[in-house]
């Protein structure tokens, strides 16, 4: 496979530079901070309720580690990861052109292989960062709670096994949108004339569509941004927080997870095809 060497080289580059390592760690650190702060707030609320003599705390289902885990996976860390995926993709090709190193890549493999290898390298990098985010969230969430069943008034609303399954389904359905962010960035990268232009070309439409996707009606279903954990309540990772707490109104809808997986996958492929076409026609 001619793109494998490029994929490995891109991954080597991303994991050896300081900026690349920061990009790997930031989502995990944000998630840890978010879980920690939420935990602190909860303790304060509990303490205040206890001080005022209210028994509200005992009326809510017992908190397990699944809730904080889902908050970590779908919260600020995931938002940062979406942005990192977008920017890493946006810099993938154009910065090589900017610094004059694109010929070094094109000398190694064909243009198609370079675009595909760099995009897939960025995707693997995003997966690594997500793995770090997930592992950190799991570890931090387990500091104060157990990964146990959710029990309300002695009734088991969801077993630990079911909750693990829901978390796994949410992550699996949420990941394609994150990977599509990277591929959308690569498309912007191949179209843009400079690193700055690539960043703007990736961030501006992404952010605008993310902010206003709720106004797009049914068209939003066909946009990967709807499923990216970036100001979207419909993103599987963002919805995971409620699902993992077994709230009654937050079950996955029929076909929701499949749509969340398929739409970004198709759009990622389209972005890569376009990026390849553009790179093939542009002088290096």
């Amino acid at each position: 496979m001619s793109f494998v060497a490029i994929l490995r080289a891109e991954l080597f580059r991303l994991t050896r530079t300081r900026a690349g390592r920061v990009g790997l760690a930031v989502p995990a650190l944000l998630a840890a901070a978010q879980i920690g702060v939420a935990e602190l707030m909860e303790q304060l609320t509990t303490a205040r309720a206890a001080a005022s003599g209210a028994g509200a705390a005992s009326e809510t289902p017992s908190e397990t580690a699944f809730g904080p885990l889902a908050d970590g996976v779908g919260g600020l860390g995931a938002m940062a990861l979406a942005m990192i995926a977008l920017l890493t993709g946006a810099f993938a090709v154009v910065r090589e052109r900017d610094q004059g190193s694109l010929p070094q890549w094109l000398l190694a493999r064909s243009r198609g292989a370079v675009v595909l290898g760099k995009a897939l390298g960025t995707c693997v990098y995003v997966l690594l960062s997500f793995a770090a985010l997930l592992a950190t969230s799991m570890a931090v969430a387990a500091l104060r709670h157990d990964y146990s069943a959710i029990v309300d008034d002695g009734y088991e609303m969801a077993s630990a096994g079911e909750l693990w399954l829901e978390v796994a389904r949410g992550c699996a359905a949420g990941l394609p949108a994150l990977l599509c962010c990277a591929c959308f960035g690569v498309l912007a990268s191949s179209l843009a004339a400079s690193v700055g232009a690539a960043a703007i070309a990736a961030i501006v439409p992404f952010t605008l569509l993310a902010l206003f996707q709720s106004t797009l009606g049914s068209a939003a279903d066909r946009l990967f941004i709807t499923y990216a954990p970036f100001f979207s309540e419909r993103a599987p990772l963002a919805r995971l927080g409620k699902v993992a707490r077994a709230f009654s109104d937050t079950h996955w809808e029929q076909g929701e997870l499949l749509r969340a997986a398929l739409v970004p996958t198709i759009e990622a492929a389209a972005c890569l095809a376009l990026a390849w076409l553009v790179t093939r026609r542009r002088p290096a």
Binding site: S2, V4, A5, I6, R8, A9, F12, R13, R16, T17, R18, A19, G20, Q99, G100, S101, P103, Q104, W105, L106, L107, A108, R109, S110, R111, A113, P283, A284
Partner: protein
Amino acid sequence: MSGAPTATMPAPAIELRGVAKAWRGGAALDGVDLLVPRGKVVGLVGPSGAGKTTLMRVALGLLAPDRGSARVLGAPAAAIARHSCRVGLLLDGAALEAGLTVADNLALHVVRHGRKPVDAKPLLQRLGLARLAGRRAGRLSQGEAIRVALARALLLEPDLLILDEPVAHLDPALAATALDLCAEAARQRGAAVLLSSHQLAELERIADRLVLLHRGKVLLEGELASLLATIQPAVRIAARPIEKAQALLAGHRAVRNVAPLRVDGVALLRVELASATAGHAAAELNGALHAASIAVDSLAPERPTLEELFRRTLAGAAP
């Protein structure tokens, strides 16, 4: 230019035929023919904007020519990725990854070509970079960065080296070492080297062939020694009184031109000879000066240089 390669002769490393490339500002290359044989160092010279870098980009398949054909290592230049690690490149400056260390920059090159790890230490040592292996490329000086880029180009022992200004920003000693490495690649491994430089004296030392490009056209092309032999021979004479010597030599039949010049504060005459046999003509001039009671302090033949060839060829070129 030689004809097409025969079955027994390996294809030249680079073969450009009638290559033309135009930008909006005009023609960058205009009907360029170029042959870079294996095992030879070909110096590519020309004033800034002559089209040297464009020519290299066409040869690398990075730019498609408007007309003509470009072949590299026996295949169309557009398919250069097929050759992968057989081509070493220094183009557009050092083009290093600023966030990676020197060692990681070289390792990235190896990974990119899908090769197993290579020991870069000997090469780094040769180029005076051993102590910088752990330094980030963004913190290197321009000269250090160029040397790292040169090490990268040489690392996988390519069959073809295309080097655009590889000794820019280098001090004379390092420039000599860098060019020696390029020459060794050609002499010892049979690599073809296409090298552009404005440091003509250094280039003259290692180049086997020369291509002089001006306004997108090849003005001069051939074996360097043969091209230098075409320069009108000249001698430098220190004589007293110099004005009398100048007047006498100006009218001599063996002299084409006489010009005064000053070297290290000493007044000299630079005498271009009419015939190619400098030794015989110099003896004749010496005799004529003595006969006219002019004291000759020194009389030395001037070695033809690439710089002189460059200057004269461009002076004769259309403006």
